[in-house]
Subunit: 373 residues, 2 copies
């Protein structure tokens, strides 16, 4: 079920079979370097989210530049990261099924593994599975900082869970997971700033409550590409989980590129190459990349160099590009498309194609593509 490689090393970019997931290696490396510099100047650790790129290779390149490890959302992603040589992985999510918790204990025999908890019974089951293998896992209490997804909703509940962790034979209390997902995608810096400010207040309250109970909170982890320039000025977090900065997407571009004060300077390095397969209509052309090739959850993608055109993702395997009077796009022409949302787009592909100066330089697997369990 692994699909054919869309390119071979050394090929010209014109020969890449489409649709293909293409990384502009120069832009990608500039993004990694830029983040490494930002983090170095701050007092934070960086633990980039691998749910975005699904690739141990990308994580290792981030770690070479100072990142402390990776985040991921699923046990299967963590397994693939560990198999790929990543020695420190935090599952930023709740895992409750005993068979999955057993797998968490298994990888904790091979690497440093952290996980989030927001329920006493699941924490006790996690400890039980770890004890059976004599494995130790770092558990972080997830607190709801306004994202209304997972996480305990009061400082008391956080203290209660932290105590369970501290008393568990095979768990270490790592600190707090304090991530606000929807804040990442808010359009204006003012909105994002408000939400981060409010999240910081919740973190402070929780850390105080833990302190009052005699519990030290080593790590407060959270943040993302969208709120980075706000997070970085808050002492409440000492670890940031930004993922999208490496590739960027149209949605983050809208929020961050136009912004002079809070703009990050990260560039689009991820493109879907797609060929025009129909020019039969007088006012549109049709490409070979539809919603099975470009995720549609964050709106339509944009076409690099033709940002004024509308690209409609209305069909599974067709992208319809509406043309103005002066627009000319020919049959067989290859468009370079910037997806609305990088994470679920990457997850549609088996292969990354890394290009530099018109040539294919590397082809590597989206190793955790489809790692849902």
């Amino acid at each position: 079920m692994v699909q054919r490689r869309p390119a071979e090393v050394g090929m010209s970019i014109d020969q890449i079979d489409t649709p293909a997931l293409v990384i502009d290696l120069n832009a990608y490396e500039r993004n990694l370097d830029k983040m490494a510099k930002l983090i170095k100047k701050s007092d934070k650790r960086l633990r980039p989210h691998a749910k975005m790129h699904k690739s141990p290779q990308v994580t290792l390149e981030q770690m070479k530049r100072g990142a402390v490890g990776a985040c991921c959302q699923k046990v299967s992603e963590a397994e693939i990261l560990v198999e790929g040589g990543v020695a420190d992985v935090l599952i930023t999510n709740e895992i409750v099924t005993p068979s999955k918790l057993k797998r968490v204990a298994e990888i904790a025999k091979q690497a440093t593994i952290g996980i989030c908890v927001d329920d006493a019974s699941a924490t006790i089951e996690l400890n039980k599975q770890c004890a059976m293998l004599d494995a130790t896992v770092t558990a972080l209490v997830e607190i709801d900082v306004g994202g209304r997804r997972c996480g305990v909703t009061t400082p008391d509940a956080a203290v209660e869970l932290a105590k369970i962790i501290e008393n568990a034979s095979h768990l270490n209390f790592g600190g707090l997971q304090a991530y606000h997902g929807s804040a990442q995608h808010m359009r204006t810096p003012a909105e994002r700033s408000d939400v981060v400010e409010n999240a910081a207040k919740i973190v402070r309250g929780t850390v105080s409550a833990l302190k009052a109970a005699g519990i030290t909170c080593d790590i407060v982890t959270g943040g993302g590409t969208g709120t980075l320039m706000h997070d970085i000025n808050h002492n409440e977090w000492n670890e940031l989980q930004c993922g999208s900065y490496a590739f960027m997407d149209a949605d983050y571009g809208k929020n961050l590129f136009a912004d002079t004060e809070y703009g990050t300077g990260f560039e689009h390095s991820l493109f879907i190459y797609s060929v025009v397969m129909s020019v039969a209509s007088p006012d549109s052309v049709v490409t070979d990349a539809g919603l099975k090739a470009i995720a549609s959850d964050s709106g339509n993608p944009i076409i690099d160099g033709r940002e004024h055109l509308t690209y409609n993702l209305s069909s599974d395997e067709h992208g319809v590009v509406l043309l103005g009077e002066d627009d000319k796009i020919g049959l067989g022409e290859c468009l370079h498309i910037i997806p609305g949302h990088c994470d679920p787009t990457v997850n549609l592909y088996d292969w990354f194609v890394g290009v530099r100066e018109g040539k294919v330089e590397k082809v590597w697997p989206v190793a955790a593509r489809g790692a849902l369990s």
Copy 2:
């Protein structure tokens, strides 16, 4: 990069690892039988679309019940269908890249292959690639019947292309592709009826123009699950391409289940099994199936047996279920979720899990998952 199987044959359904793509085999087989009966009573051929299920095994079960072959959208899908033993495949799409047209010619040496064209130069290139391998392909002229996607937009253009096909050394003229994609998803029978009526008029005009030019049009192929009960009463089509009927989804359910006159009686047979991983919030629970597990392009999914609840697909790996005062859902509980759109949802999984009467009866691959090229 193939992910682990979420279940083994003989397991209880409670043991299926989540999120999983689960087929209720009884409902699925009833759907296949129902369609076979409908088609038998009509004067149509059935060529179900495999872009929906991505599985040669499903196609072969449809062919056992009388289907003449499969449709698909991509060369890579056609290759996988042919490798899986499907002897007659129609690519209902335009293919223009020479390297891909060469692959079309290659599978035409192994099976009966049809393809759509809407451009003279691509048709000539197709013939050239077929000639090099001494392969013969059936080419159908795609006409735009109002869907504004691909297809020639005038009867004259159709005649011109049909002549090119008839004069080509290694192509047979198969007839017309006359499919209206967006009509499938229109909410009311009246809207769908109008669109099908208009499409039929365009077909009639094109067939007449071909006849006047001395060209016989053997096959007019198109239609889908959404417009089935309209298509079946139109003489303009003699081959139908319905795909979703086998699994159904929430979007088609909205259009077809409530309708007494045009309802089809097909049932939901496709479910995403997803476990509740967080109950920390007082007014919602969080599942392990987000927008990487359930396609979001056709709106939120519904929960089987809890249709009144809202399931928000707002995060990659989280589904947030909003609870009313009387709703109780426990940690670790497994929900059976009906996706908004079956096609792109199936494409997120490596494995189908077929269940019957509480047991796993078969596990088989989504063989053409990710077949984009």
